[in-house]
Symmetry: C2
Subunit: 433 residues, 2 copies
C-alpha cells in the first residue's frame, strides 16, 4: 500500500505512519492525568484534548462516548467495539490526510495542534489497559519444538495435544508492566545441580534469567460465562496487538513446573509495548501461519487460512559496557494458531473473556535457525552455546544491567510502515535479602 | 472458648456466632446497591446503614474511612489492614454483647435495628472481592498423593519438588462466582478413548465434570513487584478465608495439561462462599498441618508450626430426584503448607500480590479414607467406583441437575461456632451448540 500523504510531518520510516494510528495511554508535563492518545510519526495526538476542542465535531457517532478518551486505560474505548474503532481510526486518518475533508479541525487549527500534538519524547506512556486476566499461549511451534527437543529429545518434542489445540496457561496479570519498567533479577527456589539424584533446592538470586519474544493481544468484547465465542465471531473480540516480553526464570521453571505448569518462573514481570496496533491496521498484513497437518476441529476452523500477521520481529541486547547486538530476527507468521483460534479455544469451555484481557502468543522462533530463536534458552541451548555481543562479550543468560529491546514492524520503507515501536526492559541486580 | 452472650437472638448452632463476624457484600429489596455487611446469626448487619446512622460514633479510628462500607466490594475495607479490621470486629462484638459498652448504638436503638439488621433469607449476597488475580495451590498432600497414584503409581505419586515448595499455578479470576451461581456443563476438547495409540480428540459436552473441595484466602495487603513478602510478615497479608469449589473438567484436563498445566479444565467456573471469615476469627483454631519431612527452606519457615486451621469440612450432593448424600467429610488441617507459606513462596520471585487476590488451597482430602476425599476423581478412582446416594442412585462424576454443597465450621455446638456457611452450585445441562 503506498503511503497516505499527510500535511503533518511524519518522518520517513516511522512505525507510526498514517496507516497505523495505534492507541495508547499517555501523561505529559502539562497534564499528569493518564488519558487516551494515538501515535502519529514522532508525536502523540492527545485525544482528550482533541475531543474537548471539538476535534470530533464532524463525527457524531463518537460524541456520546467522548468521556472514554479521558480514562486512564483503553478499556472503555475498547468496549465500544470494532465498528466504532474503525470509524474513529478512519476519521483520524482523514484529519491528518493532506487532502483532509476537515481542514478546520486540525490542519488549519494551529492552536489545537499546539495543545494536542505532543512530541513522543516529552510524554510518558502507561500500561494501555487495565488487565483483568492474562493468558499466555504456546503457539509458536518452532519454539515449542526447540524446547521439546531440549527436554525430551526430537522424537517426543511436541506433546500429542500440541497440534489439536492452542496450548496455553493462565498467567499473572498484576505483574504486566509497560515498556521501560526495570526488571529486578529475582530470587527463587532452584536446584544448583538438577542432575543430582537427591534434590536439594536452595533459595538464591536466580542464574538463568531469560526473555521471551511474544506478541500480545487485547480483548475488546466480553462473552458471558458458559457461552463460547464461535470461531466466526472471534475476530470481533480482538482489539489489537502489542509486543510482549515474558521474562522467565529458567532455573525456577525447570524445578517448579511439573505437574501444574510455570508459576513463579513467569510472574516476576511481563513487559509490553505502550502503543496498541489496532487489528484493522494489521489486517493488510495477514498471511498463512504454519501448516497444521493434524486436522483442525470445526470449532477452531477458520474460513480464511491467512490468519496470522507478517510482522518482522527483532531482538536487541545492550550490556552496561555498551556492547550490543541484534541477537535475533524472526517473524510473527511463525504461529500454528491464530488469535481468533486462541479466543475460540479459550472460551470453548465457557470461560468468560473480558475487555482488557491480555493474550500472549507464546515465544516466537524461526525454524532451524538459531539467529531466529526468540529466547536465550533456545539460542544458547540452555546455556551450552555462547551468544556473541560486540567487544568480545558473550551471553548465555541475561546479566545485570542488560537491556533487552524487541521491535516489530509490518511493511517496507517504501510503503507506510505499521509498527509497534519497541518494548524494552533493563535488568536490575537482585535485592540483598 | 465459651460463647459470648448477646442481647440479639443468635440461634444455637449458627455458623455466624458473635465469635465470628464474617464480612460480605449484600444487596436487599430496599437497596439494590451492593455494600458491606457482617453476618450475625440469621441476619446481616448492613454496615453502610450502620455507619450512616452513627453506628461507629464511638470508634473514631474508622470514621475517616466509613466510605469503605458503601463500596460494592471488600477491597477498600481490606486495604485498611489487619489492625483496623481487628478494631472493627471487636467493636461490633461489643455492640452485640449482652453487656455492651455502647447500648445506645444498637441494643436500645430499635430504629437502627430495623434499618440495619436484615434477615439473611431476604438479602442477596455478592462476590465479596474484586479479584485481581486468582492463584490455585495444590497443598492438600493427600489429594496430591491420590492423584499421583492414579496417574503415575504409588512409587512416583509425589513429584520431587512437592515437599520443597507450595506447588501452585495461576488460575482464572474472571470465572470466580459467588455461591448459588449455576454452573453449566461445558463443551470441551477431549479424547473419548485416551488409551488409543492415535489421539483423536472431539469437541463435545464433557463427561467427567467434577468438584474440588478447597479453602480460598483473600489478600489484604499489597506488595510491590520485585519485593518478596518475608515469611514473618506474611500473616499480615491475609484477610480471611472462604470455602471454594474449583469445578473441574477431568476429561479436558487429562488431555490438555501437559506441559503447561490445567487451563480450560478449570476456567469454566470457581464458586466461593459469600461470607469471608476473618483471619482473626480463625486464629483460635490454628493447629499443626501435615508434618513436612523434607526440610523447609528458611524463606518458608514459620516460628509457630500451628499454622493451618481445624475446620470441619463437609460435601453434600443432591440430585434432581432429591436423592442426596453427605459424600465426604474432611478437615482443613490436611494441608502441607500454610497460607503465610503460600504468600511467602508466591512473592519469593518478586510477584506483586494485590488486595483482593484469591489464593486457593488446592483440594483437601483425608489420608487413606475414601469418605474423606475432596473430589469425585479420587472418590470414584477416576470413574471406576460408584458413590452411593440415597434411593439407589450412584455417581462417578456429576450429572446435570446435581447440586453440590460444601460447608465448613470451626468449634463445637457447646461453644461458639465460627463457620463459613456454605458454597453451593447446581449443574445446568450443556448448551446445544
Amino acid at each position: 500500500m503506498p503511503a497516505l500523504r499527510s500535511w503533518f510531518n511524519i518522518p520517513w520510516g516511522s512505525h507510526f505512519s498514517l496507516a497505523n494510528i495505534p492507541f495508547g495511554i499517555i501523561s505529559s508535563p502539562s497534564s499528569k492525568n493518564p488519558r487516551v492518545a494515538v501515535a502519529i510519526g514522532d508525536h502523540a495526538l492527545d485525544l482528550e484534548a482533541f475531543a474537548a476542542n471539538n476535534g470530533f465535531s464532524a463525527l457524531s457517532i463518537i460524541q456520546p462516548h467522548q468521556a472514554v478518551f479521558s480514562q486512564p486505560t483503553l478499556n472503555d474505548f475498547a468496549a465500544l467495539g470494532r465498528p466504532i474503532h474503525s470509524v474513529v481510526r478512519k476519521y483520524i486518518q482523514d484529519v491528518f490526510n493532506v487532502d483532509t475533508t476537515y481542514p478546520e479541525v486540525l490542519k488549519t487549527n494551529s492552536s489545537l495542534q499546539k495543545q494536542a500534538l505532543l512530541p513522543l519524547k516529552e510524554i510518558q506512556t502507561h500500561l494501555p489497559f487495565k488487565i483483568g486476566d492474562y493468558t499466555d499461549f504456546f503457539v509458536g511451534l518452532h519454539h515449542a519444538y526447540n524446547c521439546g527437543v531440549m527436554f525430551r529429545g526430537p522424537e517426543n518434542a511436541l506433546n500429542p495435544n500440541y497440534k489439536h489445540l492452542p496450548v496455553g496457561y493462565h498467567g499473572r496479570a498484576s505483574s504486566v508492566v509497560v515498556s521501560g519498567t526495570p526488571i529486578r533479577r529475582p530470587h527463587g527456589q532452584i536446584l544448583l545441580n538438577p542432575a543430582a539424584e537427591k534434590k536439594e533446592p536452595i533459595y538464591t538470586a536466580i542464574k538463568k534469567l531469560d526473555f521471551e519474544l511474544e506478541l500480545g493481544a487485547f480483548v475488546t468484547k466480553s462473552n458471558n460465562m458458559g457461552e463460547p465465542v464461535p470461531i466466526a465471531e472471534a475476530e470481533q473480540h480482538l482489539f489489537g496487538l502489542v509486543m510482549l516480553n515474558d521474562w522467565s526464570a529458567r532455573d525456577v521453571q525447570s524445578w517448579e513446573y511439573i505437574p501444574l505448569g510455570p508459576f513463579n518462573a513467569k510472574n516476576l514481570g511481563t513487559s509490553i509495548s505502550p502503543w496498541v496496533v489496532h487489528a484493522d491496521a494489521l489486517a493488510l498484513f495477514k498471511v498463512k501461519g504454519i501448516e497444521n497437518d493434524a486436522g483442525v476441529l470445526p470449532y477452531l476452523r477458520e474460513k480464511n487460512d491467512e490468519n496470522v500477521y507478517d510482522i518482522q520481529l527483532t531482538i536487541d541486547l545492550t550490556s552496561t559496557s555498551g556492547s550490543s547486538a541484534t541477537i535475533a530476527k524472526t517473524n510473527g507468521r511463525n504461529l500454528l494458531w491464530s488469535y481468533p483460534q486462541m479466543i475460540a479455544h479459550h472460551t470453548s469451555t465457557g470461560c468468560n473473556l473480558q475487555v482488557g484481557d491480555l493474550l500472549g502468543s507464546g515465544t516466537i522462533s524461526s525454524e532451524n535457525d538459531r539467529s531466529g530463536f526468540g529466547s536465550l534458552l533456545e539460542q544458547s541451548d540452555n546455556g551450552k552455546v555462547a551468544i556473541k555481543l560486540s567487544g568480545g562479550e558473550e551471553r548465555r543468560f541475561l546479566e545485570d544491567g542488560d537491556e533487552v529491546t524487541f521491535s516489530g514492524v509490518c511493511g517496507t520503507d517504501e510503503e507506510a510502515l505499521v509498527g509497534f515501536g519497541t518494548v524494552t526492559g533493563r535488568i536490575e541486580p537482585a535485592l540483598k535479602l
